[in-house]
C-alpha cells in the first residue's frame, strides 16, 4: 500500500468519490464556523474598527494563493519524474483555483486598504509580488489552453512551472529591493512573541483550515472532471476509428 497506487486513475476515481463528500462537508462547516465566528463574535479592533474582519478572508486566500503554486510545482515534478497522468491533471485543475485565490487576496486587500491606507493600490513589495504571481498563473493557464496534445501540454507547462517558480521567488525579493513596504509583517506566527491577539487568531486559524479544505475539495472535483473529460475524448477517438 503506497501513495503511488492512487496514480492509477481508476483507483484515484474510486478513492476521491468516497472522500469528496466528506471533504466538501468538512470544508463547508469549517468555513462557516471560521467566518461566522470571525465576523460576528470577535470585538472590533480599537484602531481599525470593523475593517479588521476582512482578515478572515484576506489572509487565508493569500496563503492558499502561494500554497497552490507550491502544490502545482510538486505535481509538475511528479509528472516529469514519474509520468503519472493524475498528477499532471491535478496541477492543471489547481491553477485556476490558485488564480482566483490570488485575485481574492488582491481585491480584499484593496477593499481594506482604501479606508486604512487611504488608497486602493500601492506599489508595495507584497502587493506587487502578488500581482506578478497572478501574471504567472495567467501564463500557465494560457499555455495549458494553447496546446492541443495533452502530454505535450503537461510536459511544457511543468517546465514552465519549474522555471516560473524560480522567477517568482526572484521577483519576490527583487521588489523588496525596488520599493519600501506599506504592508504590515506577518500577523500570525507559531514561535514569535509579537502576534495577533488570540481573540482574532483562533477564528483565523479555523478560516485558514477552511480555505485549505475548500481547495482540497475543489481540486479533487476538478481533477475528477479532467479525468472524465479525457476518458470521453478517448471514447470519441475509439468510435471514430471503428
Amino acid at each position: 500500500m503506497s501513495l503511488w497506487e492512487y496514480a492509477n486513475p481508476k483507483k484515484f476515481m474510486a478513492l476521491s468519490a468516497r472522500v469528496l463528500p466528506w471533504v466538501t462537508g468538512l470544508a463547508a462547516t469549517t468555513l462557516l464556523v471560521g467566518l461566522v465566528w470571525g465576523f460576528f463574535f470577535t470585538p472590533d479592533d480599537f484602531r481599525q474598527g470593523s475593517t479588521v474582519k476582512i482578515i478572515y478572508v484576506h489572509v487565508p486566500s493569500a496563503m492558499m494563493a502561494i500554497n497552490v503554486w507550491v502544490m502545482m510545482l510538486v505535481a509538475s515534478l511528479i509528472w516529469l519524474v514519474r509520468r503519472h497522468h493524475v498528477s499532471a491533471l491535478a496541477a492543471k485543475a489547481a491553477a485556476p483555483i490558485g488564480m482566483v485565490m490570488t485575485l481574492i487576496a488582491l481585491i480584499t486587500g484593496a477593499v481594506w486598504g482604501q479606508p486604512m491606507w487611504g488608497t486602493w493600490w500601492a506599489w508595495d513589495p507584497r502587493l506587487t509580488s502578488f500581482l506578478i504571481l497572478f501574471l504567472f498563473y495567467l501564463g500557465y493557464i494560457a499555455l495549458w489552453q494553447a496546446i492541443e496534445d495533452p502530454d505535450t501540454a503537461a510536459d511544457l507547462t511543468s517546465v514552465l512551472c519549474l522555471v516560473g517558480s524560480v522567477f517568482a521567488l526572484l521577483s519576490r525579493y527583487a521588489v523588496l529591493f525596488w520599493n519600501q513596504g506599506l504592508h504590515q509583517g506577518a500577523s500570525l506566527s507559531l514561535d514569535r512573541e509579537e502576534h495577533v491577539a488570540d481573540v482574532f487568531a483562533w477564528p483565523l486559524w479555523v478560516s485558514m483550515a477552511g480555505f485549505g479544505l475548500l481547495f482540497l475539495a475543489l481540486v479533487l472535483l476538478r481533477t475528477r472532471t479532467e479525468i472524465r473529460a479525457r476518458r470521453l475524448r478517448a471514447l470519441e477517438a475509439r468510435e471514430r476509428m471503428q
Partner: protein, 218 residues
Amino acid sequence: MWALLIRDLRLATRAGGGFGLSLAFFLIVAVLVPFGVGPKAATLALIAPGILWVGALLSCLLSLDRIFALDREDGSLDLLATSPIPLEGVVGIKALAHWLTTGLPLAAFTPVLGVLLNLPAAGFGPLVLSLLIGTPALSMIGAFGAALTVGLKRGGLLLSLLVLPLYVPSLIFGAEAARRGAEGQEILTPLLMQAGISLGTIALLPFAAAAAIRVNLR
C-alpha cells in the same frame, strides 16, 4: 558551433531577417513617450531610465518568435536536434545570436534616445552598462519562451504573456541601476544582482529550453 552562430547572424542581418526592426521599434517607443507625458524636460529626465529599459525589453520581445519558429518551419530544427552539438548548446548559441543582433545594438543605440529623453549626463554610462549586463538574460529567457511556444501556430501573443513576467527581476535591477546612475548614487549593487541573474539564466535555462524543444519535436 561557430558555423551555427555565423549562419544565424547572417539570417538575421539579411533582407527579411528583421534586424533593425527592433531598433526602429525602440526609436518609436522613445519618440511616443514625450507625446504621452508632455515635453517638460524635468519630467522626461525623471522617467527616461525606466522608459528606455521598458522600451529595450519590448523591442527584445519583438524578435523572439524568430529564434526557433523559422527553423522549425523549414525543418532545420530537426537537423539541429540530431546534430552532434547537444541541443543545450544549440539553444545557447541561438540566444547568443539573438543577443548580438538585438541586445547589443539596443545598448549601443540607447545613448541617442537618452538625448531625446533628456537623460541626465551622469546616467548614460550606467544605463548602457546595465543594458549590456542585463540584455543577455532577456535573450536567454526569451529563447526559453520561444522554445516553449515553438510548436504553436500563433504563439506570438502567448509568448509575450509567458516571457514578460519572467523579465520582471531583470527590469527592476536594470532600471534601478540606470536611475541611481542618473541621480549620481552608487550603482554596484543592482549591477551585481543583474549580473547574477544573467549568469544564472545562461547557466540553467538552456537545459529547460532544450527540454521544451525535445517535447515539441516529439
